[in-house]
Each structure stands twice: as C-alpha cells, then as structure tokens.
C-alpha cells in the first residue's frame, strides 16, 4: 500500500466522521452526542479492542518478545512524563507541567484503535501484546506525574489539609483501577481464556459493528475537540507547539525502539502510536484530584484538541509511511 492509498483511507470511515463533528461545532451547529452514549461507546471500544487483543495473544502465545515489549512499554510510560515535565517547566508551573506530562506518558485508546483500523485496511496484523502494552501504559505516568508534583511543589502541598491529601494507596487505586482500565484488562483476559467458540460468538459485536461504533465515537471526538479548541488560543503557542512536536519526538523514539526490539511492521506501528499519543480520559480524571491546582482547561485541550487530531490527520500516515520505508 503506497501513500496515496493510505491517504485514500482517510476518506473512508471512520476517520472523516471526526471532521464532520469538528466542522459542525466550528460552524456553531448544536450537534451534541448525549454523555451517557459517549461513555457507552467508549466502554464498548475498550471491551472490543481488549477482547480482540486477548484472542490474538491466545493464538500467538506469550513469547519472550512479548515480555520485552511489555517491559519496554512500562519503562517508556515512566520515562516519557519525566522529560516531558522538564520541557514543560520552561513555561508552565509545576502543577500544570506535571499534569500535562502525565497525559503524554499515558496513551489514547482511540488513537490506538484508529491506528489498528489503518493496519486492518492495509491487511497488516499486529499482536495482542500491543493491547496489553496499551493497558499497562495507561497508569504509570499518573503516579510519576503526582510524585513529581509532590516533590517539586512542596509549598503547595502544605495548603492541602492533612486528610485531603490523597494517600499513595488511594492514588494507586485511582490510577490502576479506573473503569476504562478494568474493562480493557478484563476483556483482554477473557479473550485470552476464550476458546475458538467464544471468539466466533463475539465477532458480530466486537468485530462487525466495530467500525460503525468507532465512526460514531470519532464524530463525538470531533464535537468535543471543536468545543475545546477555543481553549487553545488561551493556552498559547508554546503549548500548541508542544502538542505537535511531542508526539513527533515520541514517535521517533518509538520507531527507534521498535527497530532495536526487532518488531515487525504492525507491532512497530502500534508501539509508535502508543508513545505518540496522549491521554485525555484516564489522566485528566485522576489529575483533578491528585493535582488539584493544575488547570484542566489547559492540559485537556492540548491532548484532545491538538495532539489527538494531529495524530489522526498527519501523525498516523507519517509514522506508517516511515515504518513502511524501513520495513520495505
């Protein structure tokens, strides 16, 4: 599949629905997806991708390469927020830098799923371990972000009353047991344990209607990105630049590491996408409580209205193309 073919992919569903949502909001349409529906479709997508990943893993087995991938993924989820934090500190205060760094250390499931969709249309497969990697990369950066915030914003903490201070235990629970991760990991496990019959049985749900549900979700993402876009102007050029350059840098690192680990094209692409994407669901929800003096009006729009669309529009084709050149 050459680049023109790839670009063509962006005219086929699901991706263009993102632009329908985005343009609708920019044109001041009243289009709105009910909030419980967003939640439902997001859980559905996690369930489907988790289950399919588990099934893949069941087929491939847990090789030493799988272990390496998972290990490197966790390491990167711990390292990315650290250097992101120091870059961000040049312009942001500790709280906001920590929150945004955590966001970039974590992953965006929808970016991952959209990427998997591109692979599928190109007839390239990827391993179930990438879904496991995604699950494992969601939370560590939350812990790192909070630790950096607590260490480096010492004075702030004093103002937080003793019993309001979130204990480490509570923090870990918040980070590792939020609903999204539980559904993703649970479905992965169930996929892993399912016999062939279980897979066939779930196919119309997890496979058949998947693209349609993803289209619907991307429509919704477009709406939300459109609503958050005005916040970008307040955020200023530094953050816009960060939201675009950071995924490129992380993707570069991802491509390098994939080569070192000897991953095939599919896995390389998915690993790169994990590094390049930023979380706008699990991380912001945790940061509201764990880093209360960060401003979600800053850190969410960067991940949601800059990095996410950038990845969808330009990043994914670019990473795909680079990896194809490497693997050709």
């Amino acid at each position: 599949m050459d680049l023109s073919h790839l670009l063509h992919n962006f005219l086929a569903p699901p991706v263009p629905f993102f632009f329908v949502g985005l343009l609708a909001i920019l044109a001041k349409s009243d289009l709105e997806i009910p909030s419980q529906i967003s939640k439902f479709i997001s859980l559905y997508l996690l369930m489907a991708i988790g289950f399919k990943g588990g099934v893949e893993l069941h087929h491939s087995g847990i090789s030493s390469q799988v272990i390496i991938i998972l290990f490197v993924s966790i390491i990167m989820a711990l390292v990315v927020p650290v250097y992101s934090f120091y870059i961000l500190r040049r312009k942001l205060d500790v709280a906001n830098a920590a929150a945004l760094a955590a966001s970039f250390g974590s992953v965006s499931a929808v970016t991952f799923i959209t990427a998997s969709n591109i692979l599928q249309t190109s007839g390239i497969s990827y391993g179930g371990e990438m879904v496991a990697a995604m699950a494992l990369m969601e939370s560590p950066s939350i812990i790192i972000g909070v630790i950096m915030y607590r260490k480096l914003a010492a004075k702030k903490e004093e103002t937080i009353g003793e019993h309001e201070h979130m204990g480490m235990k509570e923090l870990f629970r918040e980070a590792f047991l939020n609903g999204s991760i539980v559904v993703l990991l649970g479905s992965l496990l169930i996929g892993l344990l399912s016999n062939e019959k279980g897979m066939e049985i779930m196919q119309p749900f997890t496979g058949g209607i998947f693209k349609g549900m993803l289209s619907f979700f991307l429509l919704d993402m477009g709406v939300v990105a459109g609503k958050r876009i005005s916040a970008i102007r307040q955020a200023g050029w530094f953050l816009v630049g960060f939201g675009i350059l950071m995924p490129l840098i992380n993707a570069g690192i991802g491509i390098g590491l994939s080569c070192l680990m000897g991953l095939d094209q599919g896995n390389s692409f998915m690993f790169t996408v994990l590094l390049a994407s930023a979380s706008y669901i699990a991380v912001p929800a945790a940061m509201r409580i764990a880093v209360p003096d960060a401003n979600p009006g800053i850190y969410v729009p960067v991940a949601l209205a800059i990095t996410f669309p950038f990845n969808i529009i330009a990043g994914l084709p670019l990473y795909y193309w680079v990896l194809q050149c490497i693997h050709a």
Binding site: P34, S35, S38, G161, Y280, P284, A286, I289, G297
Partner: protein, 99 residues
Amino acid sequence: MENDIKKIEIITDSTLQSRLVKVIDDTGVSGYTILKDVAGKGLKGDKDGHGISGGFKNCYIMICCDEHEAHKVVDAVKPIINTFGGICIVSDAHWVIHN
C-alpha cells in the same frame, strides 16, 4: 409550616462525589440527595458535562438537616472544597413532611 431546617448545597467536581458522601455519612445526617450529571462554570473553568474526557462534570449534593448538623456537615466538607474547588451554600427551609 413546621420545623426550621438548613438546606446545604454542594457543587463540585464529580470525581469528589464518593469522598464527599463518605464524610457526610460520617456526620450522621439522616439523608442527602445527589445529582450526577451537572454542568457549569466556575473558577476552574467550563464543565460542559461531556462524556468523553474525564474531569469535566460536576456533582450536586443537597442535605437537609438541623442547624447543629449543618455545622458538622460544613466542617466536614470545607477542607475538601477548599482544596479541590467548587461551592457550598446554605439556606433556610422548613420540613413539611419527613418520616
């Protein structure tokens, strides 16, 4: 009409709901009412109540109780609101029926 009571209303980020409910329960008030899908705007920016990104929704908690209990509830809730933002207001009302 009958007994004088205080009506306490708390509005803050949804992620704090379980934490607030816990401290309110500890004060021993007889009940409370919760709304989960609350949008709004405050010092911490817009909450459009959207379902996709975490942390953009409020919860609303209302407690009816006597003045003595009201002080306990306010004392319990204050540190949380002070730390994490939101509002807490109190007004006067009357029980008409409560069994």
